[in-house]
């Protein structure tokens, strides 16, 4: 009985702290991720002496968080949108990959990591946080802007790249002989191909099987299915995250829309716990010497993201201020960089130590830079506002 009291109070306290931090971040349109990481870090340092059951809950919650993050990513994915993005922005995607994966890979090499480590670092610096970016664009009311389709297209292509990258990394990180690795990769690619085909051709069949008019049953079904497949994927060393992503991909149509609505509060809860757990895992003693390098890497890859975003926006015929807005919008790294850390963190603790502060800096700097980039163009808007009433008045019929 005593144990459960402590557990409830500790988890409740944690969630209250997170909601205060989250509200603070939202108030200024910033991503709450850095604050969640900090909360985790301070927990790890014993801010609240955690009961074993509470830290177990955080560990389990983090696992579920990763599954939900990837499940919803899969649900968001649409073949039509992917094809349209490919058609228009394949060159942007290559520029994005080359410019942003390279600095990470170089740092990995500099640190003397093995191939898996270098690959993981490349992924950490490559992937922008699609969740934070689209939220940011919505909050700043930039969805109507000319550069926005370019930004969103780059994100779709990055997310797709993750679908290929994560199983690859998971298999390699699991180690074992090269035969194991090859078999694992083959399974992953096959599963991915089959899922794409299935969702494209027989999406409606899957939909009928899973769909249920009752929201509660639908939620349980999809969640159950996702966890099952995630477990199976983990069993064949293809990472639970990838399994969940595949489940998300196969769902389509009306069901996908409903599931997305049902899952998003759950995802927000468990993803927050996942971010806390990342901060919780990191050992400050290992992290502190890595800080300067993390900051340098953050500065460099913020710049490379801006360049790749500008390139993408330029392809849409957007002028310089818009290109800057697109570039800065893409700076923020977040959930997927952290998923990568979670994948390899245990085997290569250096990555955790450098990537955690890296994500921390960029999850903070990215939204700030995006906000500021909008200020650059604030002036013409004001002119417009001044000139408008005059025009409206002219078009009114003379009264009196």
């Amino acid at each position: 009985m005593h144990g459960s009291v402590a557990l409830l109070i500790q988890i409740g306290l944690l969630l209250v702290v997170l909601t205060v931090l989250g509200a603070l971040a939202r108030k200024v349109s910033l991503s709450p991720i850095p604050l969640y990481l900090l909360a985790g870090l301070s927990l790890g340092e014993g801010a609240i002496p955690l009961e074993p059951s509470a830290s177990e809950f955080i560990e389990t919650g983090a696992l579920v968080g990763v599954v939900l993050l990837l499940l919803t990513l899969g649900l968001e994915f649409s073949v039509t949108e992917f094809a349209a993005s490919m058609r228009k922005h394949l060159p942007s995607a290559w520029v994005d990959l080359a410019l942003n994966a390279t600095p990470g890979a170089l740092v990995g090499w500099f640190l003397g990591l093995d191939f898996v480590g270098i690959l993981a670092m490349a992924g950490v610096t490559y992937i922008s946080s699609s969740g934070v970016v689209s939220r940011l664009l919505t909050d700043l009311r930039r969805l109507g802007n000319r550069e926005t389709p370019a930004v969103l297209s780059v994100l779709v292509l990055e997310d797709f790249a993750m679908a290929v990258y994560l199983p690859l990394l998971a298999v390699l990180a699991a180690g074992g002989t090269w035969v194991n690795a090859v078999v694992g990769i083959a399974i992953a690619i096959l599963a991915l191909a089959v899922t794409f085909l299935a969702s494209y051709k027989w999406g409606h069949v899957v939909e009928r099987l899973v769909s249920h008019p009752d929201s509660e049953l639908l939620l349980l079904r999809v969640l159950g299915l996702a966890l099952l497949v995630a477990g199976l994927a983990e069993f064949v060393h293809v990472s639970a995250a990838v399994g969940a992503f595949l489940v998300g991909l196969t769902l389509s149509g009306e069901t996908a829309v409903r599931v997305r609505e049902l899952l998003s509060p759950l995802r927000d809860l468990f993803a927050a716990i996942f971010f806390v757990s990342i901060g919780f895992m990191v050992d400050p003693a290992v992290m502190i010497p890595m800080l300067p390098l993390a900051v340098v890497l953050a500065v460099v890859t913020a710049a490379t993201k801006v360049v790749s975003g500008m390139y993408a926006a330029k392809r849409e015929g957007v002028a310089r201020p818009g290109q800057l807005r697109a570039g800065t919008a893409l700076i923020v790294r977040g959930e997927f960089s952290l998923v990568i850390i979670a994948l390899v963190g245990e085997s290569i603790p250096v990555i955790e130590a450098i990537a955690m502060p890296y994500v921390f800096v960029l999850a903070f700097v990215g939204p700030v830079a995006t906000l500021l980039s909008g200020r650059v163009t604030a002036r013409p808007r004001l002119q417009r506002r001044v000139s408008r009433p005059a025009r409206v008045r002219r078009s009114e019929p003379p009264s009196g």
Binding site: G144, L251, G322
Partner: protein, 176 residues
């Protein structure tokens, strides 16, 4: 996974207007058009069902000035205000897209057996396969009426179904 419409970016005809349609991956669609005053207007239709209406500044066509945001219900209301007078016409346009599907109107006469009775009593869909998609009462249009909605003398029902089905519906509301 959501399949939005299988359409690429580009210009589409809506009524007599050319409306530019832009795919916003992960978010939805954006429609843009110029009005006769020369303002460029954009409507962002989000997957979640809400809308953002924006105006493009003449000085910088890249920046959208947000005008207002509509949730799904507000957007419905606005669409009704803008589209109410032409609702039956619009249904007629719609039915051209499906061969065999027709739109028709049935009025509730004073001697109709279903005057002042709920729509559900007529069991239209069960008996004819046709659907009552709207009730037009004076200036008001009630889209997708439910079985509990009570019919009044003078109501116009907008029906969608086969030609045969619509004739049967006329008969039901005439004679019972």
């Amino acid at each position: 996974m959501v399949q939005l419409r299988q359409r690429r970016d580009g210009s589409v005809k809506m009524g007599r207007m050319d409306v530019n349609e832009v795919l916003l991956p992960g978010v939805g669609l954006r429609y843009e058009f110029d009005n006769t005053d020369g303002d460029r207007i954009g409507v962002v239709a989000k997957r979640a069902g809400d809308f953002e209406v924006v105006l493009y500044a003449a000085e910088d066509p890249d920046v959208a000035q947000p005008l207002f945001h509509l949730n799904a219900e507000e957007a419905d209301a606005l669409a009704q205000i803008l589209g109410a007078p032409r609702i039956a016409e619009r249904f007629a346009d719609l039915t051209h897209e499906v061969p065999g599907l027709e739109a028709g109107q049935v009025s509730i006469d004073p001697d109709s057996p279903y005057a002042d009775r709920p729509l559900g009593d007529a069991r239209v869909r069960t008996r004819t396969g046709a659907s009552v998609v709207a009730i037009v009462r004076d200036e008001d249009v009630q889209p997708s009426p439910g079985p509990a909605d009570v019919l009044r003398v003078g109501d116009i029902l907008v029906i969608i179904g086969t030609e045969e089905g619509i004739t049967q519906v006329e008969h039901i509301f005439d004679k019972g």
